[in-house]
Symmetry: C2
Subunit: 224 residues, 2 copies
């Protein structure tokens, strides 16, 4: 009922995780392209080179989301951007709250470019009474007791958890009770949530550990 079918493909495609990530990269690259240099076209080979992947994969991805290119010339940037926006649903706004007014919460609150992807932060909450009412990355910190009202009134569907791990499950429970359906979890605790709730864990240390791993074994080229 909201699958927007201006172009040829209204078919409900169920993108795997890895493809959503690629689309985001394409989007990002092309968006910065068309700001700067920008002819208004881009070829699969250009994108592929930038991302260190095969050009036919790019074409396949773009075909899948219904963009048509032009033989001999490539793809119109605007077509690609538009198709990605449509596929990922950027135009359907989602509202989010941040729970946990620590440094990380602050960083996310003042981040700003979430808008661009259709997500709007509409409140920051914290349990600590002394933090309540303080201004914080452009938001006034609210007490956890106001969470249910805000979530209901504004139709919030995402809770961004930037609380310490011990507090994470409780925060998640409150948010879910209030009506949230998705959780972006920055505490690295594993959450138990009911069926149907979408959770995305952003387990920072995993990134660092992977970087570390690659570094420790990259014996060659070292000590330049």
């Amino acid at each position: 009922m909201d699958s927007d079918s201006r172009t040829q493909e209204p078919k409900e495609l169920d993108l795997r995780h890895v493809m959503v990530e690629r689309l985001m990269h394409y989007y990002h690259f092309i968006a910065s392209l068309s700001n700067n240099t920008a002819g208004d076209s881009v070829t699969s080979t250009q994108i592929a080179r930038l991302m260190h992947i095969d050009d036919s994969l790019v074409r396949k991805d773009l075909a899948e989301i219904g963009v048509r290119g032009h033989s001999g010339h490539g793809f119109r940037c605007e077509d690609v951007l538009e198709a990605i926006r449509r596929t990922l649903g950027f135009s359907k706004r989602l509202r989010a709250v941040i729970i946990g007014a620590g440094r990380l919460g602050g960083a996310l609150a003042s981040y700003g470019s979430f808008q661009q992807y259709g997500v709007e932060i509409c409140g920051v909450f914290d349990i600590a009474p002394h933090k309540v009412r303080l201004m914080f990355g452009g938001y006034q910190i609210q007490p956890m007791t106001s969470l249910p009202i805000v979530v209901k009134q504004m139709g919030v569907c995402i809770a961004i958890l930037t609380v310490p791990p011990e507090a994470a499950q409780d925060a998640a429970n409150r948010a879910l009770d209030a009506g949230v359906r998705g959780i972006w979890n920055f505490s690295n605790a594993s959450l138990e949530v009911p069926e149907g709730v979408v959770v995305r864990n952003e387990h920072m240390s995993i990134g660092l550990a992977e970087l570390g791993y690659r570094l420790r074994r990259g014996r060659m080229g070292h000590d330049t």
Copy 2:
């Protein structure tokens, strides 16, 4: 020359990205298990259930890093943890600096659990003269001009970039010139780096976009 061969497998295994992530998850789960409840054993099925993957995959992964289980009983937690530490090289300390003393930089500086994975933050840097010397997440902010000295003297090999996108390439260049070999990039700019440098981009919005995507299409179960 430092491939630590206490157990049977000194063979240089080159883990793919996805397996490193799984190992980190195993590590994390088992570590929290053995803190709390903990018998000191764990079965492949337990781990698999927690992670929503197949139990034979767990056994395969563990076999690959040289852990032996015990038929009928599972794996000794300590064996698994030790093997993962060895494989990912946690005991080989790596030093890192944070460039960019903003909120995110602060969050990472005060994060604390990087130690656990063998990475030690040993300085925070910023270009803004008025920030220099301020205390920040336990570190005194240093001017960018001190970067080369610190990197050299302390043998720093990772730069964590928490600067705005416009400043990212420059910060990366300075860090690389100073001798860093790996970059953990939180600015979402794409960096150009010479051959052999290890870069890991932590492009926040990608996580959010993916969460959003799954949420927008999870029509069922919504509006509980």
